[in-house]
Protein backbone atom coordinates (compact mmCIF):
# COMPACT_ATOMS: atom_id res chain seq x y z
CA UNK A 1 0.00 0.00 0.00
CA UNK A 2 2.71 2.42 -0.90
CA UNK A 3 0.90 4.05 -3.77
CA UNK A 4 0.63 7.42 -2.14
CA UNK A 5 4.12 8.48 -3.07
CA UNK A 6 3.30 8.20 -6.73
CA UNK A 7 0.64 10.84 -6.78
CA UNK A 8 1.71 13.99 -8.50
CA UNK A 9 0.28 17.43 -7.99
CA UNK A 10 -2.09 18.36 -10.78
CA UNK A 11 -2.79 14.80 -11.89
CA UNK A 12 -6.33 13.51 -11.79
CA UNK A 13 -6.79 10.13 -10.23
CA UNK A 14 -9.64 7.76 -10.87
CA UNK A 15 -10.92 8.73 -7.43
CA UNK A 16 -11.15 12.41 -8.32
CA UNK A 17 -13.01 11.64 -11.50
CA UNK A 18 -15.47 9.39 -9.69
CA UNK A 19 -15.97 12.06 -7.06
CA UNK A 20 -16.88 14.56 -9.76
CA UNK A 21 -19.20 12.02 -11.36
CA UNK A 22 -20.89 11.42 -8.02
CA UNK A 23 -22.20 14.96 -8.08
CA UNK A 24 -23.83 14.51 -11.48
CA UNK A 25 -24.65 10.83 -11.39
CA UNK A 26 -28.36 11.12 -10.59
CA UNK A 27 -28.98 13.25 -13.67
CA UNK A 28 -27.73 10.72 -16.20
CA UNK A 29 -27.33 7.19 -14.88
CA UNK A 30 -30.94 6.67 -13.90
CA UNK A 31 -32.18 3.91 -11.67
CA UNK A 32 -30.36 0.92 -13.12
CA UNK A 33 -27.49 1.02 -10.64
CA UNK A 34 -29.19 3.10 -8.00
CA UNK A 35 -29.59 0.32 -5.46
CA UNK A 36 -27.07 -2.15 -6.74
CA UNK A 37 -24.25 -1.57 -4.28
CA UNK A 38 -25.58 -1.77 -0.74
CA UNK A 39 -23.77 -2.83 2.42
CA UNK A 40 -26.01 -5.19 4.29
CA UNK A 41 -24.95 -4.08 7.78
CA UNK A 42 -26.35 -5.76 10.85
CA UNK A 43 -25.86 -4.86 14.50
CA UNK A 44 -25.06 -7.65 16.96
CA UNK A 45 -25.46 -6.77 20.62
CA UNK A 46 -22.27 -8.01 22.32
CA UNK A 47 -22.85 -6.32 25.70
CA UNK A 48 -25.54 -4.17 27.26
CA UNK A 49 -26.18 -1.27 24.87
CA UNK A 50 -23.11 -2.23 22.79
CA UNK A 51 -23.41 -3.38 19.19
CA UNK A 52 -20.76 -4.84 16.89
CA UNK A 53 -21.11 -4.42 13.13
CA UNK A 54 -19.06 -7.37 11.89
CA UNK A 55 -17.37 -7.23 8.52
CA UNK A 56 -16.46 -10.27 6.48
CA UNK A 57 -13.23 -12.14 7.20
CA UNK A 58 -11.86 -11.40 3.76
CA UNK A 59 -9.46 -9.14 1.89
CA UNK A 60 -10.79 -6.08 -0.01
CA UNK A 61 -12.78 -7.20 -3.06
CA UNK A 62 -15.18 -5.74 -5.62
CA UNK A 63 -17.87 -7.90 -3.98
CA UNK A 64 -17.44 -6.92 -0.32
CA UNK A 65 -16.85 -3.21 -0.97
CA UNK A 66 -14.19 -3.12 1.72
CA UNK A 67 -16.58 -4.26 4.45
CA UNK A 68 -14.03 -6.46 6.20
CA UNK A 69 -13.79 -4.52 9.44
CA UNK A 70 -15.49 -4.63 12.84
CA UNK A 71 -17.15 -1.32 13.67
CA UNK A 72 -19.03 -0.78 16.95
CA UNK A 73 -21.46 1.66 18.53
CA UNK A 74 -22.43 2.13 22.14
CA UNK A 75 -25.55 3.72 23.58
CA UNK A 76 -24.55 6.07 26.39
CA UNK A 77 -27.05 8.08 28.49
CA UNK A 78 -27.04 11.19 26.26
CA UNK A 79 -26.15 9.77 22.84
CA UNK A 80 -24.06 7.30 20.87
CA UNK A 81 -20.31 6.59 20.72
CA UNK A 82 -18.89 4.98 17.55
CA UNK A 83 -15.63 3.02 17.24
CA UNK A 84 -14.22 3.30 13.68
CA UNK A 85 -16.21 4.40 10.64
CA UNK A 86 -15.64 1.78 7.92
CA UNK A 87 -14.08 1.76 4.44
CA UNK A 88 -16.17 4.28 2.46
CA UNK A 89 -18.67 7.10 2.50
CA UNK A 90 -21.36 4.65 1.43
CA UNK A 91 -20.49 2.46 4.43
CA UNK A 92 -20.66 5.47 6.73
CA UNK A 93 -24.15 6.27 5.44
CA UNK A 94 -25.30 2.68 6.01
CA UNK A 95 -23.77 2.76 9.49
CA UNK A 96 -25.63 5.95 10.37
CA UNK A 97 -28.92 4.38 9.24
CA UNK A 98 -28.21 1.28 11.31
CA UNK A 99 -27.47 3.41 14.38
CA UNK A 100 -30.65 5.43 13.88
CA UNK A 101 -32.67 2.23 13.53
CA UNK A 102 -31.10 0.60 16.59
CA UNK A 103 -30.93 3.63 18.89
CA UNK A 104 -33.53 6.03 17.46
CA UNK A 105 -33.19 9.75 18.02
CA UNK A 106 -29.86 9.73 19.80
CA UNK A 107 -27.05 11.96 18.51
CA UNK A 108 -23.56 10.66 17.73
CA UNK A 109 -21.38 12.35 20.36
CA UNK A 110 -18.04 10.72 19.59
CA UNK A 111 -16.43 8.74 16.75
CA UNK A 112 -13.07 7.16 17.55
CA UNK A 113 -10.59 6.21 14.82
CA UNK A 114 -8.40 3.46 16.26
CA UNK A 115 -5.71 3.88 13.56
CA UNK A 116 -5.18 5.23 10.05
CA UNK A 117 -5.85 2.16 7.90
CA UNK A 118 -8.49 2.85 5.22
CA UNK A 119 -11.16 0.39 6.40
CA UNK A 120 -11.23 2.11 9.79
CA UNK A 121 -11.67 5.78 8.90
CA UNK A 122 -12.92 6.33 5.32
CA UNK A 123 -16.52 6.51 6.59
CA UNK A 124 -15.63 9.68 8.56
CA UNK A 125 -17.27 11.94 5.97
CA UNK A 126 -20.80 11.29 7.23
CA UNK A 127 -20.03 12.46 10.77
CA UNK A 128 -19.52 15.94 12.19
CA UNK A 129 -15.75 16.30 12.04
CA UNK A 130 -15.59 17.94 15.47
CA UNK A 131 -16.80 14.75 17.20
CA UNK A 132 -14.25 12.52 15.41
CA UNK A 133 -11.27 11.89 17.68
CA UNK A 134 -7.96 10.02 17.55
CA UNK A 135 -4.43 10.35 18.92
CA UNK A 136 -2.43 13.12 17.20
CA UNK A 137 -0.20 10.52 15.51
CA UNK A 138 -3.23 8.83 13.93
CA UNK A 139 -4.36 12.23 12.62
CA UNK A 140 -0.87 12.88 11.22
CA UNK A 141 -0.84 9.45 9.58
CA UNK A 142 -4.25 10.07 7.98
CA UNK A 143 -3.07 13.44 6.67
CA UNK A 144 0.10 11.85 5.26
CA UNK A 145 -1.29 8.65 3.79
CA UNK A 146 -5.07 9.06 3.58
CA UNK A 147 -5.06 10.19 -0.05
CA UNK A 148 -2.96 7.25 -1.16
CA UNK A 149 -5.14 4.82 0.78
CA UNK A 150 -8.30 6.24 -0.77
CA UNK A 151 -6.79 5.93 -4.27
CA UNK A 152 -5.80 2.35 -3.59
CA UNK A 153 -9.27 1.51 -2.25
CA UNK A 154 -10.83 2.81 -5.47
CA UNK A 155 -8.53 0.43 -7.33
CA UNK A 156 -9.38 -2.51 -5.08
CA UNK A 157 -13.14 -2.21 -4.56
CA UNK A 158 -14.19 0.22 -7.31
CA UNK A 159 -17.54 2.00 -7.33
CA UNK A 160 -18.30 1.29 -3.67
CA UNK A 161 -15.91 4.18 -3.01
CA UNK A 162 -17.87 6.73 -5.05
CA UNK A 163 -17.80 10.10 -3.34
CA UNK A 164 -15.36 8.98 -0.64
CA UNK A 165 -12.63 11.36 0.49
CA UNK A 166 -10.25 11.00 3.43
CA UNK A 167 -11.29 13.16 6.40
CA UNK A 168 -8.95 13.52 9.37
CA UNK A 169 -10.42 13.64 12.89
CA UNK A 170 -11.09 17.14 14.21
CA UNK A 171 -10.00 16.36 17.75
CA UNK A 172 -6.65 15.07 19.02
CA UNK A 173 -7.08 12.86 22.09
CA UNK A 174 -5.07 13.50 25.24
CA UNK A 175 -5.40 12.01 28.69
CA UNK A 176 -6.09 8.46 29.75
CA UNK A 177 -9.86 8.72 29.82
CA UNK A 178 -12.80 10.91 28.83
CA UNK A 179 -16.46 11.07 29.70
CA UNK A 180 -18.83 11.10 26.75
CA UNK A 181 -22.55 11.64 27.23
CA UNK A 182 -22.47 10.28 30.77
CA UNK A 183 -20.16 7.29 30.20
CA UNK A 184 -16.45 7.00 31.02
CA UNK A 185 -14.09 5.59 28.39
CA UNK A 186 -10.47 4.64 29.15
CA UNK A 187 -7.97 5.35 26.38
CA UNK A 188 -4.72 3.42 25.84
CA UNK A 189 -2.14 4.86 23.44
CA UNK A 190 -0.33 1.87 21.97
CA UNK A 191 1.42 1.03 18.69
CA UNK A 192 2.94 -1.81 16.68
CA UNK A 193 0.20 -2.59 14.15
CA UNK A 194 0.85 0.99 12.99
CA UNK A 195 2.83 3.84 14.54
CA UNK A 196 -0.25 4.73 16.61
CA UNK A 197 -3.00 2.35 17.71
CA UNK A 198 -5.74 3.50 20.04
CA UNK A 199 -7.37 0.97 22.37
CA UNK A 200 -10.66 2.01 24.01
CA UNK A 201 -12.38 0.49 27.04
CA UNK A 202 -15.97 1.21 28.02
CA UNK A 203 -15.51 1.27 31.79
CA UNK A 204 -19.17 0.47 32.46
CA UNK A 205 -19.48 -2.70 30.37
CA UNK A 206 -15.79 -3.66 30.34
CA UNK A 207 -15.80 -4.09 26.54
CA UNK A 208 -12.30 -3.51 25.18
CA UNK A 209 -12.09 -2.26 21.59
CA UNK A 210 -8.62 -3.41 20.55
CA UNK A 211 -8.54 -1.98 17.05
CA UNK A 212 -6.16 -4.00 14.88
CA UNK A 213 -3.76 -4.87 17.68
CA UNK A 214 -5.85 -8.04 18.04
CA UNK A 215 -7.23 -10.18 15.21
CA UNK A 216 -9.30 -13.31 15.81
CA UNK A 217 -9.51 -16.14 13.26
CA UNK A 218 -8.68 -13.58 10.58
CA UNK A 219 -5.01 -13.21 9.65
CA UNK A 220 -3.24 -10.08 10.96
CA UNK A 221 -2.10 -7.47 8.44
CA UNK A 222 1.36 -5.93 8.55
CA UNK A 223 1.84 -3.04 6.07
CA UNK A 224 3.01 -0.70 8.87
CA UNK A 225 3.83 -3.26 11.55
CA UNK A 226 6.71 -3.22 13.98
CA UNK A 227 6.45 -6.73 15.31
CA UNK A 228 8.38 -6.32 18.57
CA UNK A 229 6.44 -3.20 19.54
CA UNK A 230 3.20 -4.93 18.60
CA UNK A 231 4.05 -7.86 20.89
CA UNK A 232 4.66 -5.44 23.78
CA UNK A 233 1.26 -3.84 23.14
CA UNK A 234 -0.41 -7.26 23.20
CA UNK A 235 1.15 -7.89 26.62
CA UNK A 236 -0.19 -4.54 27.79
CA UNK A 237 -3.69 -5.41 26.54
CA UNK A 238 -3.67 -8.85 28.12
CA UNK A 239 -3.05 -7.25 31.53
CA UNK A 240 -6.00 -4.85 31.25
CA UNK A 241 -9.22 -5.42 33.21
CA UNK A 242 -12.00 -6.26 30.76
CA UNK A 243 -15.08 -8.37 30.15
CA UNK A 244 -14.57 -9.06 26.47
CA UNK A 245 -12.54 -7.92 23.47
CA UNK A 246 -13.92 -6.79 20.14
CA UNK A 247 -10.96 -7.21 17.76
CA UNK A 248 -10.59 -5.03 14.66
CA UNK A 249 -11.24 -8.09 12.49
CA UNK A 250 -12.76 -11.46 13.27
CA UNK A 251 -14.96 -12.74 16.07
CA UNK A 252 -15.68 -11.26 19.49
CA UNK A 253 -13.40 -12.73 22.11
CA UNK A 254 -14.55 -13.54 25.65
CA UNK A 255 -11.42 -15.38 26.78
CA UNK A 256 -8.41 -13.45 25.50
CA UNK A 257 -7.79 -16.02 22.77
CA UNK A 258 -7.51 -13.23 20.16
CA UNK A 259 -4.46 -11.86 21.97
CA UNK A 260 -2.83 -15.27 22.20
CA UNK A 261 -3.56 -16.11 18.57
CA UNK A 262 -2.29 -12.76 17.28
CA UNK A 263 0.89 -13.02 19.40
CA UNK A 264 1.49 -16.61 18.30
CA UNK A 265 1.02 -15.76 14.61
CA UNK A 266 3.27 -12.69 14.75
CA UNK A 267 5.95 -14.69 16.56
CA UNK A 268 5.87 -17.40 13.89
CA UNK A 269 5.84 -14.79 11.10
CA UNK A 270 8.86 -12.94 12.47
CA UNK A 271 10.89 -16.06 13.23
CA UNK A 272 10.07 -17.79 9.96
CA UNK A 273 10.85 -14.81 7.76
CA UNK A 274 14.03 -14.07 9.71
CA UNK A 275 15.25 -17.62 9.07
CA UNK A 276 14.29 -17.38 5.40
CA UNK A 277 16.07 -14.05 4.90
CA UNK A 278 19.15 -15.21 6.80
CA UNK A 279 19.47 -18.25 4.54
CA UNK A 280 19.20 -16.19 1.35
CA UNK A 281 15.79 -17.39 0.16
CA UNK A 282 14.11 -15.18 -2.43
CA UNK A 283 10.86 -13.49 -1.43
CA UNK A 284 8.98 -15.89 -3.70
CA UNK A 285 10.57 -18.89 -2.02
CA UNK A 286 9.67 -17.42 1.38
CA UNK A 287 6.07 -16.94 0.19
CA UNK A 288 5.91 -20.64 -0.70
CA UNK A 289 6.90 -21.81 2.79
CA UNK A 290 4.11 -23.75 4.51
CA UNK A 291 1.82 -22.05 7.04
CA UNK A 292 1.69 -24.21 10.22
CA UNK A 293 -1.39 -26.37 10.73
CA UNK A 294 -2.58 -24.37 13.74
CA UNK A 295 -3.00 -21.28 11.54
CA UNK A 296 -4.56 -23.04 8.53
CA UNK A 297 -8.13 -22.38 9.69
CA UNK A 298 -7.51 -18.64 10.04
CA UNK A 299 -9.29 -16.72 7.27
CA UNK A 300 -7.19 -15.29 4.40
CA UNK A 301 -3.99 -16.53 6.04
CA UNK A 302 -2.28 -17.37 2.72
CA UNK A 303 -3.02 -13.95 1.22
CA UNK A 304 -1.93 -12.04 4.30
CA UNK A 305 1.17 -14.19 4.79
CA UNK A 306 2.31 -13.41 1.24
CA UNK A 307 1.62 -9.70 1.74
CA UNK A 308 3.59 -9.80 4.98
CA UNK A 309 6.62 -11.24 3.17
CA UNK A 310 6.68 -8.09 1.02
CA UNK A 311 6.13 -5.81 4.05
CA UNK A 312 8.83 -7.35 6.21
CA UNK A 313 11.49 -8.92 3.99
CA UNK A 314 13.46 -5.84 2.93
CA UNK A 315 14.03 -4.79 6.54
CA UNK A 316 14.91 -8.32 7.63
CA UNK A 317 17.44 -8.62 4.79
CA UNK A 318 19.02 -5.33 5.79
CA UNK A 319 19.27 -6.60 9.37
CA UNK A 320 20.43 -10.13 8.60
CA UNK A 321 22.59 -10.01 5.46
CA UNK A 322 26.14 -9.10 6.48
CA UNK A 323 27.90 -6.08 4.98
CA UNK A 324 30.69 -6.95 2.54
CA UNK A 325 33.92 -5.05 1.86
CA UNK A 326 33.64 -3.48 -1.59
CA UNK A 327 36.63 -2.20 -3.55
Amino acid sequence: MKNNRNRRAGSYSRRHVLQLLAGTACACCGSVHANKLAYDLTATEIASGTWAVHGRSEYFTLENGGNIVNVAFIEVPDGVVVVDSGPSRRYGEALLQLIEKTVPGKPVLRVYNTHHHPDHFLGNQVFDRTVIAAPQQVIDNILAEGDGFADNMYRLVGDWMRGTAPIAPGLALEGDSEEIGGRKFSLFYLSGHTSSDLVIRDDQTGVLFSGDLAFYNRAPTTPHAQIEVWQESLQTISALDRELILPGHGLRDDSGASIEQTADYLDWLHRGLSEAAASGLTMNEAMALPVPARFQSIDVVQTEYQRSVVHMYLTLEDDLMPLIDVK
Binding site: M1, N6, G280, T282, M283, Q306, L314, E317, I324
Partner: protein, 266 residues
Protein backbone atom coordinates in the same frame (compact mmCIF):
# COMPACT_ATOMS: atom_id res chain seq x y z
CA UNK B 1 0.66 23.22 -40.88
CA UNK B 2 -0.31 21.23 -43.98
CA UNK B 3 3.20 19.81 -44.01
CA UNK B 4 2.76 18.53 -40.47
CA UNK B 5 -0.55 16.95 -41.32
CA UNK B 6 0.98 15.18 -44.33
CA UNK B 7 3.85 13.96 -42.18
CA UNK B 8 1.39 12.56 -39.68
CA UNK B 9 -0.54 10.75 -42.37
CA UNK B 10 2.67 9.25 -43.73
CA UNK B 11 3.73 8.22 -40.22
CA UNK B 12 0.35 6.62 -39.58
CA UNK B 13 0.48 4.78 -42.91
CA UNK B 14 3.97 3.56 -42.09
CA UNK B 15 2.74 2.26 -38.75
CA UNK B 16 -0.04 0.33 -40.44
CA UNK B 17 2.43 -1.22 -42.88
CA UNK B 18 4.87 -2.12 -40.12
CA UNK B 19 2.17 -3.71 -37.99
CA UNK B 20 0.89 -5.72 -40.97
CA UNK B 21 4.40 -6.93 -41.73
CA UNK B 22 4.96 -8.02 -38.15
CA UNK B 23 1.56 -9.76 -38.12
CA UNK B 24 2.44 -11.63 -41.28
CA UNK B 25 5.83 -12.64 -39.94
CA UNK B 26 4.32 -13.77 -36.68
CA UNK B 27 2.05 -16.43 -38.11
CA UNK B 28 4.37 -19.19 -36.83
CA UNK B 29 4.30 -17.75 -33.31
CA UNK B 30 2.63 -19.94 -30.72
CA UNK B 31 -0.43 -18.31 -29.21
CA UNK B 32 0.38 -16.26 -26.14
CA UNK B 33 -1.13 -17.95 -23.08
CA UNK B 34 -1.16 -14.55 -21.37
CA UNK B 35 -3.03 -12.85 -24.26
CA UNK B 36 -0.75 -9.83 -24.19
CA UNK B 37 -1.20 -7.13 -26.84
CA UNK B 38 2.59 -6.85 -26.89
CA UNK B 39 3.30 -10.51 -27.62
CA UNK B 40 4.06 -10.35 -31.35
CA UNK B 41 6.15 -7.24 -30.99
CA UNK B 42 8.14 -8.43 -27.99
CA UNK B 43 8.57 -12.00 -29.20
CA UNK B 44 10.19 -10.76 -32.39
CA UNK B 45 12.38 -8.33 -30.52
CA UNK B 46 13.58 -10.47 -27.61
CA UNK B 47 13.16 -14.08 -28.71
CA UNK B 48 14.29 -14.20 -32.36
CA UNK B 49 14.02 -17.71 -33.76
CA UNK B 50 11.97 -20.72 -32.75
CA UNK B 51 9.68 -20.25 -29.74
CA UNK B 52 7.91 -22.86 -27.66
CA UNK B 53 5.66 -22.23 -24.68
CA UNK B 54 7.21 -24.36 -21.96
CA UNK B 55 5.90 -24.96 -18.42
CA UNK B 56 9.38 -26.09 -17.37
CA UNK B 57 10.22 -22.40 -17.19
CA UNK B 58 8.83 -21.70 -13.73
CA UNK B 59 8.15 -18.04 -13.02
CA UNK B 60 7.14 -17.16 -9.46
CA UNK B 61 5.53 -13.80 -8.77
CA UNK B 62 2.70 -12.63 -6.53
CA UNK B 63 -0.70 -12.36 -8.21
CA UNK B 64 -1.05 -8.83 -6.77
CA UNK B 65 1.93 -6.52 -6.32
CA UNK B 66 1.85 -5.30 -2.74
CA UNK B 67 4.59 -2.78 -3.52
CA UNK B 68 4.94 -1.95 -7.21
CA UNK B 69 8.48 -0.63 -6.59
CA UNK B 70 9.65 -4.05 -5.34
CA UNK B 71 7.81 -6.87 -7.07
CA UNK B 72 9.62 -10.13 -6.33
CA UNK B 73 10.29 -12.51 -9.23
CA UNK B 74 12.04 -15.89 -9.12
CA UNK B 75 12.83 -17.80 -12.31
CA UNK B 76 13.68 -21.49 -12.11
CA UNK B 77 14.49 -23.22 -15.41
CA UNK B 78 16.61 -25.97 -13.86
CA UNK B 79 14.35 -28.61 -15.45
CA UNK B 80 15.80 -27.59 -18.82
CA UNK B 81 19.27 -28.71 -19.93
CA UNK B 82 21.88 -26.61 -21.73
CA UNK B 83 20.46 -23.20 -20.88
CA UNK B 84 22.58 -20.41 -22.35
CA UNK B 85 20.48 -17.31 -21.69
CA UNK B 86 17.48 -16.19 -19.61
CA UNK B 87 15.67 -13.00 -20.64
CA UNK B 88 13.05 -11.41 -18.37
CA UNK B 89 10.69 -8.71 -19.64
CA UNK B 90 7.66 -6.84 -18.34
CA UNK B 91 5.40 -6.48 -21.40
CA UNK B 92 3.65 -3.28 -20.38
CA UNK B 93 6.49 -1.40 -18.73
CA UNK B 94 7.66 1.68 -20.66
CA UNK B 95 11.05 -0.08 -20.71
CA UNK B 96 10.19 -3.79 -20.99
CA UNK B 97 13.63 -5.44 -20.73
CA UNK B 98 14.37 -6.22 -17.06
CA UNK B 99 17.50 -8.30 -17.28
CA UNK B 100 19.35 -11.06 -19.09
CA UNK B 101 21.21 -13.82 -17.24
CA UNK B 102 23.98 -15.84 -18.83
CA UNK B 103 24.34 -18.85 -16.50
CA UNK B 104 27.71 -19.84 -17.93
CA UNK B 105 28.53 -22.14 -15.03
CA UNK B 106 25.48 -21.67 -12.88
CA UNK B 107 22.09 -23.25 -12.48
CA UNK B 108 19.33 -21.74 -14.62
CA UNK B 109 17.93 -19.84 -11.65
CA UNK B 110 17.64 -16.19 -10.67
CA UNK B 111 15.71 -14.16 -8.10
CA UNK B 112 15.29 -10.38 -8.38
CA UNK B 113 12.79 -7.55 -7.87
CA UNK B 114 11.25 -5.29 -10.46
CA UNK B 115 9.48 -1.94 -10.69
CA UNK B 116 6.12 -2.13 -12.45
CA UNK B 117 4.50 0.87 -14.09
CA UNK B 118 1.16 -0.95 -14.27
CA UNK B 119 -0.30 -4.45 -14.17
CA UNK B 120 1.73 -6.49 -16.66
CA UNK B 121 2.75 -9.92 -17.82
CA UNK B 122 6.19 -10.92 -16.54
CA UNK B 123 7.55 -12.90 -19.44
CA UNK B 124 10.61 -15.08 -19.41
CA UNK B 125 12.44 -16.57 -22.38
CA UNK B 126 15.02 -19.28 -21.76
CA UNK B 127 17.32 -20.00 -24.68
CA UNK B 128 18.86 -23.45 -24.89
CA UNK B 129 22.01 -24.30 -26.82
CA UNK B 130 19.95 -25.52 -29.81
CA UNK B 131 18.72 -21.94 -30.26
CA UNK B 132 15.13 -22.60 -29.15
CA UNK B 133 13.43 -20.08 -26.85
CA UNK B 134 11.38 -21.69 -24.08
CA UNK B 135 8.88 -19.06 -22.99
CA UNK B 136 6.56 -18.81 -20.01
CA UNK B 137 5.24 -16.10 -17.72
CA UNK B 138 2.69 -14.83 -15.25
CA UNK B 139 0.50 -11.75 -14.96
CA UNK B 140 1.04 -9.45 -11.98
CA UNK B 141 -1.68 -7.01 -11.00
CA UNK B 142 -0.27 -3.69 -9.79
CA UNK B 143 -1.10 -0.11 -8.95
CA UNK B 144 0.46 2.52 -11.19
CA UNK B 145 3.67 4.43 -11.20
CA UNK B 146 6.61 2.17 -10.32
CA UNK B 147 8.93 3.30 -13.09
CA UNK B 148 8.17 7.01 -13.13
CA UNK B 149 8.47 7.59 -9.37
CA UNK B 150 11.81 8.76 -7.98
CA UNK B 151 13.92 6.25 -6.06
CA UNK B 152 13.64 6.42 -2.28
CA UNK B 153 17.36 7.25 -2.24
CA UNK B 154 16.57 10.73 -3.55
CA UNK B 155 14.82 11.48 -0.28
CA UNK B 156 18.23 11.18 1.43
CA UNK B 157 20.91 13.86 1.35
CA UNK B 158 23.82 11.45 1.32
CA UNK B 159 22.68 8.60 -0.91
CA UNK B 160 25.84 8.87 -3.01
CA UNK B 161 27.99 7.93 -0.01
CA UNK B 162 26.41 4.50 0.23
CA UNK B 163 26.41 3.81 -3.53
CA UNK B 164 27.54 0.24 -4.08
CA UNK B 165 27.33 -0.71 -0.41
CA UNK B 166 26.74 -4.44 -0.49
CA UNK B 167 25.18 -7.07 1.74
CA UNK B 168 25.50 -10.72 0.82
CA UNK B 169 24.99 -14.30 1.92
CA UNK B 170 26.71 -17.26 0.31
CA UNK B 171 26.38 -20.90 1.24
CA UNK B 172 27.03 -24.24 -0.41
CA UNK B 173 23.50 -25.47 -0.98
CA UNK B 174 24.37 -28.77 -2.65
CA UNK B 175 27.67 -30.55 -3.29
CA UNK B 176 28.27 -28.58 -6.48
CA UNK B 177 26.13 -25.44 -6.27
CA UNK B 178 26.22 -22.38 -4.05
CA UNK B 179 23.40 -19.99 -3.27
CA UNK B 180 24.48 -16.38 -3.59
CA UNK B 181 22.13 -13.63 -2.44
CA UNK B 182 23.31 -10.05 -2.61
CA UNK B 183 21.97 -6.55 -2.31
CA UNK B 184 23.82 -3.54 -3.70
CA UNK B 185 22.79 0.00 -2.86
CA UNK B 186 21.95 1.79 -6.08
CA UNK B 187 19.03 4.09 -7.01
CA UNK B 188 18.50 2.34 -10.38
CA UNK B 189 17.10 5.54 -11.88
CA UNK B 190 15.03 4.88 -14.97
CA UNK B 191 15.34 8.38 -16.41
CA UNK B 192 11.53 8.55 -16.40
CA UNK B 193 11.15 10.39 -13.08
CA UNK B 194 11.13 14.15 -13.67
CA UNK B 195 14.56 15.76 -13.35
CA UNK B 196 16.49 12.57 -12.57
CA UNK B 197 18.72 11.22 -15.35
CA UNK B 198 19.08 7.53 -16.11
CA UNK B 199 21.58 5.84 -13.77
CA UNK B 200 21.61 2.12 -13.05
CA UNK B 201 23.78 -0.92 -12.44
CA UNK B 202 24.04 -2.61 -15.81
CA UNK B 203 26.57 -5.41 -15.33
CA UNK B 204 27.20 -8.01 -12.66
CA UNK B 205 29.73 -10.79 -13.24
CA UNK B 206 30.47 -13.70 -10.93
CA UNK B 207 33.75 -15.52 -11.51
CA UNK B 208 35.79 -18.22 -9.82
CA UNK B 209 39.17 -17.27 -8.26
CA UNK B 210 40.99 -18.43 -11.39
CA UNK B 211 38.90 -16.14 -13.57
CA UNK B 212 36.33 -18.53 -15.05
CA UNK B 213 33.00 -16.83 -15.65
CA UNK B 214 30.24 -18.49 -13.62
CA UNK B 215 27.38 -16.10 -14.32
CA UNK B 216 26.85 -12.72 -15.95
CA UNK B 217 23.81 -10.47 -15.60
CA UNK B 218 22.96 -7.59 -17.92
CA UNK B 219 20.55 -5.40 -16.00
CA UNK B 220 18.25 -2.62 -17.17
CA UNK B 221 16.16 0.23 -15.76
CA UNK B 222 13.20 -1.80 -14.41
CA UNK B 223 15.29 -3.68 -11.82
CA UNK B 224 14.26 -2.36 -8.39
CA UNK B 225 16.24 0.14 -6.36
CA UNK B 226 19.01 -1.53 -4.35
CA UNK B 227 19.05 -4.62 -6.60
CA UNK B 228 18.62 -7.83 -4.63
CA UNK B 229 19.73 -10.83 -6.66
CA UNK B 230 19.87 -14.53 -5.96
CA UNK B 231 21.99 -16.86 -8.11
CA UNK B 232 23.17 -20.45 -7.91
CA UNK B 233 26.74 -20.62 -9.25
CA UNK B 234 28.30 -24.05 -9.74
CA UNK B 235 31.14 -24.53 -7.29
CA UNK B 236 33.27 -27.65 -7.49
CA UNK B 237 35.55 -28.75 -4.63
CA UNK B 238 38.28 -26.29 -5.57
CA UNK B 239 36.12 -23.19 -5.43
CA UNK B 240 36.03 -21.68 -1.95
CA UNK B 241 35.45 -18.11 -3.05
CA UNK B 242 33.30 -16.20 -5.54
CA UNK B 243 34.53 -12.96 -7.09
CA UNK B 244 31.91 -10.39 -8.05
CA UNK B 245 32.38 -7.43 -10.38
CA UNK B 246 29.65 -4.84 -10.90
CA UNK B 247 29.48 -1.70 -13.05
CA UNK B 248 26.88 1.01 -13.56
CA UNK B 249 25.97 3.30 -16.45
CA UNK B 250 28.35 5.99 -15.12
CA UNK B 251 31.21 3.45 -15.18
CA UNK B 252 31.45 3.22 -11.39
CA UNK B 253 33.02 -0.17 -10.67
CA UNK B 254 32.56 -2.37 -7.61
CA UNK B 255 34.51 -5.51 -6.73
CA UNK B 256 34.15 -7.91 -3.83
CA UNK B 257 34.75 -11.53 -2.92
CA UNK B 258 32.47 -13.90 -1.05
CA UNK B 259 33.60 -17.08 0.72
CA UNK B 260 31.91 -20.41 -0.02
CA UNK B 261 32.06 -23.01 2.75
CA UNK B 262 33.53 -26.45 2.03
CA UNK B 263 30.61 -28.23 3.60
CA UNK B 264 26.97 -28.23 2.56
CA UNK B 265 24.98 -25.70 4.54
CA UNK B 266 21.31 -26.25 3.95
Amino acid sequence: MINRTIKRIIAAAALVIISQVSTAGASSLPQDPLNSVMWENLAGRFFPGEIVIDQRVRVSAPHDAEDQMQVPITIDATDLDNVVEIVAIADLNPIPHILTLHPTRAQAFIGFRVKLEQASPIRVGVKTSDGVWHVNGVIVNAAGGGCTAPALAHGLDNWYKTLGQTRAITRRETADAARLSLRMRHPMDTGLAPGIPVFYLNTIEVTSPNGDELAKIEMFEPVSENPTLTLKPLVNDNISELLVYARDTEANEFRFSLPVSDTIDN
